[in-house]
């Protein structure tokens, strides 16, 4: 990459961060509007949903973070195979620091041993970059900003689970997923969306559960068993009555996205990631010259 290309690539990355932090993707807005419509008038649930909708509007107009917790910075990237990988990651970190300086990201990354915050959001584990080469001649750069409140209510179950009464079958899987929703109550800033992995090892399970949030809210799982499970989880979770912010109400979950991985005979993990209503993810097709060609959501 020549200097001019690097500058353009950097600029595009900062723009992807800005847009992710300040603008809610259209598919998520539709889901939130649907949630607002079903809550009864003069309830605190409706009050919460109205404020959420106002917030989405103001953040976009002012180009300021939707939520002050700009979250774990998770990049999911496909890059042309001949790309200089080290340079690419260096530019990503530079973009994160620049976006932090501009206020699109909060100074949000703390040294776990000393408690020190260097104010740049760059350090061990931040940003998180999942990148794979591919044969195409452009970049696919997707970004997710996942707040701490919802990250904290994620849960991983090892079946069988005695407390929940969940066995090593699909019924058990369903039970632990619903249990995770009940345990989360309003702490994850609901109404939320679940990303779930059935199977895999512990680390991959959580990773793939987060990857589910790259799917559009209104897509349909190509696997009919999972598609059915996704629908059932949403319907049943909404019977729990936890509602927006845990105030009580009809919309507890706006969606569930599930993946299944093979597992060891000895292991049966169900990994549940919870995404808050402030579901910030965006992506762009970026040319090898470094220019944004198309938004992906």
């Amino acid at each position: 990459m020549k200097a001019k290309q690097q500058a353009l690539f950097l600029e595009s990355l900062v723009e992807i961060i800005r847009k992710t932090s300040t603008e809610m993707p259209a598919d998520v807005v539709r889901a939130i509007e649907k949630g607002r419509a079903v809550e009864a008038e003069s309830t605190s649930a409706k009050y919460a949903m109205n404020i959420i909708c106002d917030n989405i509007g103001i953040a976009k107009v002012k180009s300021q973070p939707l939520c002050q917790d700009t979250g774990t910075i998770l990049f999911f990237i496909h890059y042309p195979a001949k790309t200089d990988y080290e340079l690419m990651t260096k530019l990503i970190k530079k973009a994160v620091a620049a976006a932090t300086k501009k206020g699109y990201l909060r100074q949000n990354s703390v040294d776990s041993l000393t408690g020190e915050n260097n104010g740049t959001n760059v350090g061990p584990g931040s940003p998180v970059i999942h990148a794979e080469p591919w044969k195409k001649d452009f970049f696919d750069i997707r970004l997710m900003l996942k707040g701490g409140g919802c990250e904290n209510v994620g849960a991983q179950y090892s079946l069988p689970d005695g407390r929940v009464g969940a066995g090593r079958d699909l019924l058990g899987v369903k039970k632990v997923i619903l249990d995770a929703v009940q345990q989360a109550q309003g702490k994850g800033c609901g109404p939320g969306v679940l990303g779930v992995t059935i199977g895999g090892d512990r680390g991959t399970g959580y990773f793939v559960s987060k990857e589910q949030f790259l799917r559009k809210m209104d897509d349909k799982n190509p696997n009919p068993v999972l598609a059915k499970l996704e629908d059932e989880i949403v319907q049943e979770a909404n019977r729990l009555g936890i509602g927006p912010m845990g105030f009580g109400g009809k919309t507890t979950l706006m969606g569930t996205k599930i993946a299944a991985l093979n597992r060891l005979p000895a292991s049966f993990f169900v990994s549940v990631s919870y995404m808050c209503w402030a579901f910030r993810r965006q992506g762009a097709k970026v040319s090898v010259q470094g220019a944004i060609q198309k938004w992906l959501y």
């Binding site: 002050q68 909060r106 912010m245 009580g248 402030a278």
Partner: protein, 196 residues
């Protein structure tokens, strides 16, 4: 919709009930994990800068920018309150706090302290950083910026009509305990219906 101007009197606080939608005007202080730990270790901020007596603490780590030598809050939603549960009751007692603003609710110790000392837990809308930032009309100061870092510092804020919902009142009621109980019962009903 009720409106309240800070500082609240104990009488005003005792009139509030779980489920009340309230708009707050007046002075509030932010304080989150580092500050709660620090206060509970017996430390005290200088009173001329931060007077916590009878005040309201907001569990919030705002995004604050310095423009032309003046602080501007650009995002200011609540953070999860339950992390302050080990410390909150002691701080309510020591400073006779009249209100704690946050999100996600708090536990038994805080519920009891609210009842005993005349305090309420006010639930702001999590994630609504822009709506809430617009209600902050002035930053009056900051304490511990270097020591705690910007999100963790104590910001002294003047707010106008900050929207919240009372979810723990001063009469021993907690909406969080109620919803937890109801949803737990409903989950068991769902499980019972799933048996093959």
């Amino acid at each position: 919709m009720k409106t309240l101007t800070a500082p609240f009197t104990e009488e005003q606080v005792r009139q509030l009930k779980v489920g009340d939608m309230v708009e707050i005007t007046g002075l509030i202080y932010t304080g989150r994990d580092a500050v709660h730990k620090w206060l509970s270790e017996g430390n005290e901020p200088p009173k001329n800068e931060v007077d916590l007596n009878n005040s309201i603490i907001y569990h919030c780590g705002p995004v604050v920018m310095k423009k032309k030598n003046a602080w501007t809050v650009t995002a200011a939603g609540p953070t999860t309150s339950i992390r302050e549960e080990p410390y909150q009751a002691g701080i309510i007692e020591k400073y006779k706090l009249k209100g704690v603003i946050g999100k996600g609710g708090m536990g038994e110790k805080t519920r009891i302290a609210c009842q005993k000392f005349g305090c309420v837990y006010l639930h702001a809308i999590g994630g609504a950083a822009q709506v809430l930032a617009e209600k902050i009309v002035r930053v009056e100061g900051v304490y511990g910026y270097e020591k705690f870092g910007s999100p963790e510092a104590i910001w002294k804020l003047q707010v106008v009509k900050l929207p919240v919902v009372v979810t723990i009142d001063a009469h021993g009621n907690s909406l969080h305990a109620e919803i937890e109980k109801q949803s737990s019962a409903e989950l068991q009903t769902l499980f019972a219906g799933m048996k093959k």
